[in-house]
């Protein structure tokens, strides 16, 4: 009657420096998704630079159980030397990582940390050698601070928040971060919180409904570009001029950058999935080859632009087009 988890934890995750061909499994949260595609493309590009590294993508189907199984399957198979992870579920997946550790397969996580603490980037779980991500809470606060600035001489300043799904822990975290910033300003009224579910059509509906109850809106604070695009359809067909409002997105996809550049959206919180993919691949290859690994890479520093972009900032970076398209 042995304890399997004990076997895992007693094993060391540090592999002993492999040379020659390296094979990396990229466990995407979904392979049918532009963001993940960009992470993969970045990783593949970096792998090409190495010449002897090969990357394979796995489809997580936006399902935590699927991804859990994939970590186990990759760990037990012996075909792969390392894992780059885009987690669907940062906590649940942690339980699968020890299997990889036991098989001496290093794991690098991107976009989100893996483990119970949503804001701690330092590896929380044995087997994670590096986290390529940003602090979601801080980024969300930064996005909300732009709203505060815009609202400065508006009273009341009416804000509608469009969040993915409050039942997702990271969205809950984002929402709380927004509120912690906004609620401190008496002139700012959060008049509505709608759920956009990272989907254009859902966001379009939610925005139409919100406008119904709140015809006077100054700010739409959305955490995702897809949602903002949907909201934009609703706003524009209801006759609103977005350039006179303060509309944000999140993700930094090509459409968002275009809109911000054009002055339609006021700000966007940018992710750099392609750079993340490159950085994550570099770290995981280092780990496989027994070279030093950087445990935390702040994703905000990976791109040519700061994490929150506005028209002014983009004007300074005429070449930046966004690292992904959906």
């Amino acid at each position: 009657n042995s304890d399997v988890s004990q076997v895992y934890s007693s094993a060391s995750a540090a592999p002993s420096g492999k040379s020659g061909q390296v094979r990396i499994a990229l466990l995407a949260s979904s392979s049918q998704n532009g963001f993940n595609k960009a992470v993969y493309d970045g990783a593949v590009a970096k792998a090409k630079e190495y010449g002897d590294v090969e990357v394979t993508i796995f489809d997580g189907k936006f399902d935590s159980q699927t991804q859990f199984n994939q970590v186990q399957n990759v760990a037990s198979q012996g075909t792969y030397d390392g894992i780059v992870l885009v987690p669907n579920d940062n906590v649940g997946i942690a339980a699968a990582i020890p299997a990889a550790a036991q098989a001496k397969i290093p794991v690098v996580t991107t976009l989100f940390p893996v483990g119970p603490n949503l804001t701690e980037l330092k590896p929380q779980v044995e087997g994670i050698v590096s986290t390529v991500a940003a602090n979601t809470e801080e980024n969300s606060k930064k996005l909300a601070e732009g709203v505060v600035e815009y609202c400065e001489d508006k009273d009341p300043c009416r804000v509608a928040i469009l969040i993915g799904q409050l039942q997702f822990p990271f969205d809950n975290l984002r929402n709380k971060a927004y509120r912690s910033v906004l609620d401190g300003h008496p002139n700012i009224k959060v008049v509505a919180t709608g759920q956009g579910n990272y989907d254009r059509d859902t966001s379009l509906k939610a925005m139409q409904n919100i406008l119904q109850a709140n015809p006077k809106l100054d700010v739409v604070l959305s955490n995702a570009d897809q949602q903002t695009i949907g909201a934009q359809v609703a706003l524009e067909s209801a006759g609103y001029d977005l350039s006179k409002m303060y509309v944000t997105g999140g993700g930094g996809n090509q459409e968002a950058i275009k809109q911000v550049r054009a002055g339609t959206w006021a700000a966007d919180q940018v992710d750099f999935p392609n750079s993340m993919g490159r950085a994550a691949l570099e770290q995981v290859v280092n780990a496989v080859r027994g070279k030093p690994v950087t445990p935390v890479i702040d994703a905000n520093t990976l791109g040519p632009v700061p994490v929150i972009v506005t028209k002014e900032i983009l004007d300074e970076h005429p070449d930046f087009a966004g690292e992904w398209a959906d």
Binding site: A192, T193, G194, D199, R200, K205, A206, Q212, G230, E255
Partner: protein, 303 residues
């Protein structure tokens, strides 16, 4: 009376929302609600025929997705928005036909057959796009989804026409009779000289067509073909049909009640948004409303 349970709930919720907030009972809001849920309602209308005929179509969501991306693909690659918008219903009807042929030829129960075909179609939608979105340049393509006749969106007009047509089909034509009798007793229908399999096949064709029409509206509204666009629609549509009191054993049912079912669910959504209520409670409320509607219809069924 029991047939009116869904209508009673709908009216009750309508009244509650009207008195709770002044933003509810406005023309724009009502038109918005109608417009937003028109695609779902169109699927539910055709789904009613399928269920009455004793079947189940779990593939409408996937058909919606395929039709969605086909429309965008055609619009982009053939450069014609109109052709794109026409392609969606055609694609939907074709996939519905495939469902119907599979079900009647292989003699599989439609529940399992359309479950399987929904996976196949979903895969197809992804293959067409390569997992990306297909953005169609605005212009003609979005006119259908965003425009309207006066303040009334085209989507509402399409839904109205489709629902009336389907109601007529069910109640005033021989085809409708056949659907009712095949669902009521397939053996008796067969012995009465009805081509049972053909009737079944037509209902799936019709359901596919409806999903295609719904997709036309959806893709034109957003201006983008997305391979996941229809995810989950099939369950919502079936829920609305059953909420409308159509028996899952077939043989009885009504179109208008399914439409009421769709808009009962829609009012809950709308209410939450305009009342700015805590979204945590939305699912819970929806569940309770469904149970209430059903309990109401059951209570009135008792002697």
């Amino acid at each position: 009376m029991r047939h009116y349970a869904v209508l009673i709930m709908l009216v009750a919720l309508f009244v509650v929302l009207s008195v709770s907030t002044s933003s509810f009972l406005t023309l724009t809001n009502l038109l918005n609600i109608l417009n937003q849920n028109a695609p779902l309602a169109i699927i539910a209308v055709a789904g009613t025929l399928v269920v009455i005929c004793g079947g189940f179509d779990l593939s409408t969501g996937a058909i919606f997705s395929v039709a969605n991306v086909v429309a965008a693909w055609v619009a982009v690659h053939l450069g014609s928005p109109v052709l794109g918008l026409l392609a969606a219903p055609l694609a939907g009807a074709a996939l519905g036909l495939v469902n119907g042929v599979a079900i009647t030829r292989l003699r599989i129960h439609s529940f399992l057959a359309t479950l399987a075909s929904s996976l196949v179609y979903g895969g197809l939608a992804v293959l067409i796009t390569g997992g990306f979105l297909i953005s169609v340049p605005a212009g003609g393509f979005t006119a259908l989804g965003r425009g309207g006749i006066g303040p009334v969106y085209y989507a509402i007009v399409i839904l109205a026409v489709f629902a009336l047509l389907s109601g007529f089909l069910l109640n005033r034509t021989a085809f409708g009779r056949y659907v009712l009798s095949v669902g009521g007793n397939a053996e008796a229908a067969e012995l009465s000289g009805i081509r049972v399999n053909r009737i079944r096949l037509y209902t799936f064709l019709y359901s596919g067509l409806a999903a295609g029409i719904a997709a036309t509206i959806g893709v034109s509204r957003i201006g983008t073909g997305q391979p996941q666009a229809g995810d989950g629609l099939q369950l919502l549509a079936i829920a609305a049909v059953i909420l409308g009191g159509t028996s899952i054993y077939g043989g009885v049912g009504a179109i208008w009640r399914s439409v009421c079912g769709v808009y009962l669910l829609a009012l809950i959504d709308n209410g939450f948004d305009i009342l700015n209520a805590n979204p945590f409670f939305k699912d819970l409320t929806t569940g309770v409303v469904i149970l209430a509607a059903v309990a109401l219809s059951v209570a009135s069924r008792r002697r």
